[in-house]
Symmetry: C2
Subunit: 519 residues, 2 copies
């Protein structure tokens, strides 16, 4: 356990103009800078989670948190003052998108660090070694699940290098436009899993008459079957339709035979040192609470920045939760075109909400404001913080293969299962999931590290929470917890099971996103 510091205030970033009260602090409470040379005393009482200025800010000047702009001083602010709705406003930013005006310099590269992963024939790096059953439509879900379920511990114990067999079953796949937007997105998602490096071999199982045809999937996504040395290249079938095979029982029987042939070949895979730059991290938050933006999310941001410094990739998704804070990301976009790509996704969500006469309201709620959140930028940054502070390198559509290094955005809903499904389909090989209320999410075939935002929940859900960022409220430093998350990412990528993996969670959470319509 790291030494606990009893500072009443927490500084989230060295560039910040404010610090956050770790507990309610009466007037006269002192914050002392890390170097011990700088001290600010509160001029009024500052509630838990609220902000105190540590530098003077002139009227109209930016105020920074997470090292980033959260608004502009609406009156002059003195060190020690409470910073909230009465002296912090949104200024002109919301009417003026700026593109690539604040692109952070690349972090100092860190080289030489490796993890123990699997190197696949196509050159990509895997963190797990699974066999997948890809179900094209709900109508083949039962058959797919049965094939997977056959391979229980009694069989898999003979194949120690195989992590498991996962059936990727879902509720969609028909009653949509053939080759329409939803069909193409589903195909991209299914193919993203089939081709995922963590899936060493797979079988596509369809019904036969569905819109989401197995043949369309295989052809449009250029799927190919696992190669078995000494066998014909097309020795094993790529796809199997229940209607061709003659029903559920025959399909399950034949599917099991196919997988039995795959097992020895998949079991040949062995872990080897692979540069950490080949990790693709999916970041997610779910069941957030008032601590998320103060503890787990900025700590994950530090881990994200470390991974980018190592040459790796970090994906931020959940666009409805970025909403209203996209102004901050467009300024960090490597090029104005990348900033525009993000705005296109934001416009898509506005149009989508409008179809249903709904709105995307990411403004701080009454409860958020009571908890210390002042502006929509600050609230959005609480989510954006997960992905760190580096330049935005690219923007991807849902389940699109992620090929850039560094920090990227993928367009997904905020809802956890389709969000993670999209990022994993895009190639993420490790997931870090921050949670305040206590999500029990797991995903196959990619490990998910769950980070609690607060100690009481961490203690209550010890079976499911891998790390406790609530330590930050108890006095641990952000950088210490950020470093801990980074080390956990490397360890888990190397084979250390997460708590959700140890419990075998991840068969129910595959959830391709379909905006509709369904007829």
């Amino acid at each position: 356990m790291a030494p606990i510091d009893d500072q009443p205030f927490l500084q989230l970033h060295p560039d910040d103009d404010i610090v956050i009260a770790r507990r309610s602090a009466p007037a006269g409470t002192a914050w002392i800078a890390a170097d011990g040379q700088w001290q600010v005393v509160s001029r009024e009482s500052i509630d838990l989670g609220h902000k105190m200025a540590i530098r003077p800010v002139e009227v109209g000047q930016p105020v920074r948190k997470y090292g980033q702009l959260i608004g502009y001083a609406s009156t002059a602010i003195e060190p020690g003052e409470w910073v909230h709705l009465h002296n912090l406003g949104m200024g002109e930013l919301k009417h003026n998108y700026e593109f690539s005006t604040e692109v952070p310099a690349p972090p100092e590269p860190i080289t030489g660090r490796t993890f123990m992963g699997y190197r696949r024939p196509d050159g990509r790096a895997a963190t797990r070694n699974y066999i997948g059953i890809v179900s094209t439509v709900n109508c083949s879900a039962t058959s797919s699940a049965r094939i997977a379920r056959h391979f229980d511990e009694s069989i898999l114990s003979d194949y120690p290098n195989v992590d498991g067999v996962v059936a990727l079953t879902h509720k969609g796949g028909c009653a949509m436009e053939f080759d329409g937007a939803d069909h193409r997105q589903l195909a991209r998602t299914l193919a993203g899993f089939a081709k995922h490096p963590n899936i060493a071999a797979y079988l596509v199982v369809g019904l036969g008459c569905e819109t989401s045809q197995a043949s369309y999937l295989a052809n449009s996504q250029e799927l190919v079957q696992i190669a078995i040395p000494g066998q014909e290249p097309d020795h094993l079938p790529l796809t199997m339709n229940i209607q061709d095979v003659g029903g559920v029982a025959k399909t399950v029987e034949r599917g099991i035979e196919v997988l039995k042939e795959m097992l020895p070949e998949v079991n040949r895979a062995e872990r080897e040192p692979i540069p950490v730059s080949e990790l693709i991290l999916a970041t997610e938050c779910g069941g957030s609470d008032g601590n998320s933006g103060v503890t787990a999310n900025p700590a994950l941001g530090i881990a994200s920045d470390l991974l980018v410094a190592h040459g790796g990739t970090v994906i931020l998704s959940e666009v409805p939760e970025i909403y209203g804070g996209e102004h901050l990301l467009t300024r960090r976009a490597r090029t104005p075109e990348i900033g525009q790509k993000l705005l296109e996704r934001i416009r898509w969500w506005e149009k989508y909400a409008k179809k249903f006469d709904a709105t995307i309201d990411n403004n701080p709620s009454v409860g958020n404001k009571r908890g210390g959140l002042t502006t929509i930028y600050e609230k959005s940054l609480g989510a954006i913080a997960k992905a760190g502070s580096t330049a935005l390198q690219d923007v991807y559509e849902y389940a699109e293969p992620v090929t850039s290094k560094g920090f990227v955005v993928m367009d997904t809903p905020g809802y956890d299962p389709p969000s993670v499904t999209g990022m994993v389909a895009g190639g993420a090989n490790v997931v870090v999931f921050t949670t305040g209320r206590g999500s029990c999410f797991g995903c196959k075939p990619v490990p998910t590290i769950k980070v609690a935002t607060n100690t009481p929940m961490y203690e209550r859900m010890r079976d499911d929470m891998d790390l406790n960022a609530g330590r930050i409220l108890d006095g641990a430093s952000l950088s210490e917890v950020g470093q801990e998350i980074f080390e956990k990412i490397v360890a888990v990528a190397s084979g250390e099971p997460t708590l959700s993996e140890a419990q075998g969670i991840g068969d129910e959470e595959f959830c391709p996103w379909s905006p509709g319509p369904i007829f």
Copy 2:
């Protein structure tokens, strides 16, 4: 096996002006009426599935198939003529909705027939005896499925009257508007299963922070827990949240304990004679082919009419497949208000499609026309035929409790899993599913009888097809196959397992319909 008649033509209903070619018939082929007293000889060749007139029809006069209007003669039609696009049109009907202008007289009541079912404390009739785990959100799906999976054959064999434990898991439950249309519809669906007579006892399992709160579900839907004699009324919990219990492992453990207490009580249920009038039949077609409207659907229609004559209930759903033929149902509506309720659902679908710049195109395609379908009425009737020919008694929204007797419509998509889910949530206690391509659908906790439209598919998928309506093409009469379906409904309602039940299918097909939006 019933005697095979080698008539080249098939009459679908005694009121019909046309008969259907069972095989391609050259000019000069005779159709002989069932009484042997009436004969019509074809004046030209009639292709397989196409229509031949058996009565003269004057210009502008209605032409009937399934005993119902499929269009108007656009030229005078003589007996023996081929009836298709050249002499049959849509007339004025499409611009003029008529309400309750052709309400069929109630069928001659048939009394005294019973099935062996379970009588529940609330008075409703069950056909199966299950325990359910109702998962409020995808985030509790793993825990729910694990509780159910614990109760395998080794445990259930001690409780012979219990048909099984089903986990009702799904992909939704969060990232939607609280108390909005989707949330209310999901609550109605989950509650429809919880309260379903086939579910003798249930446990609601939630995560804790989801929009689809277990407490909202229990309160808004007035859920109550199973009563155990000699115990406090609230002895067993109604709902359980993972975040309160402290994680997946503890929730699964506690859920298993709760179900263990339920099992002896649920096992007490015994079958007893119950009037067939208490059967609520869900009709569904999926993977349809050119035979659906000639064999399985009209044969199911005869079974539906028999069930209505016995005082039972028949649900037709799949509104996008009724589309364009709603004119025929508004004429059969018991009151104009009921006809208007149907039109409101039709208008909803038009608006829904328009949101996505899509259209609901149910017009006969080039292939449909080549197969003998002339008008959109005829095509829609091919689907509507499943529910028989009696008066439309009411129209229900998705998953709304069905309380009427007779033939009713429920608004669902055409997509099989959400369609059947809605009807079962509404109280259907037996499902008949017609299929041409070969669907392998099964549903828990309600049995599904699958009826093949053609003999080759029936033979190929013998493990999954309960009945073969393809016999109608081989010469069996519609009424004979309709009677066979009715008898199968009664036998299955009384406990005879369907082929999908014998195989244990139905854990993956629970699929609440959510039109969106999801954020």
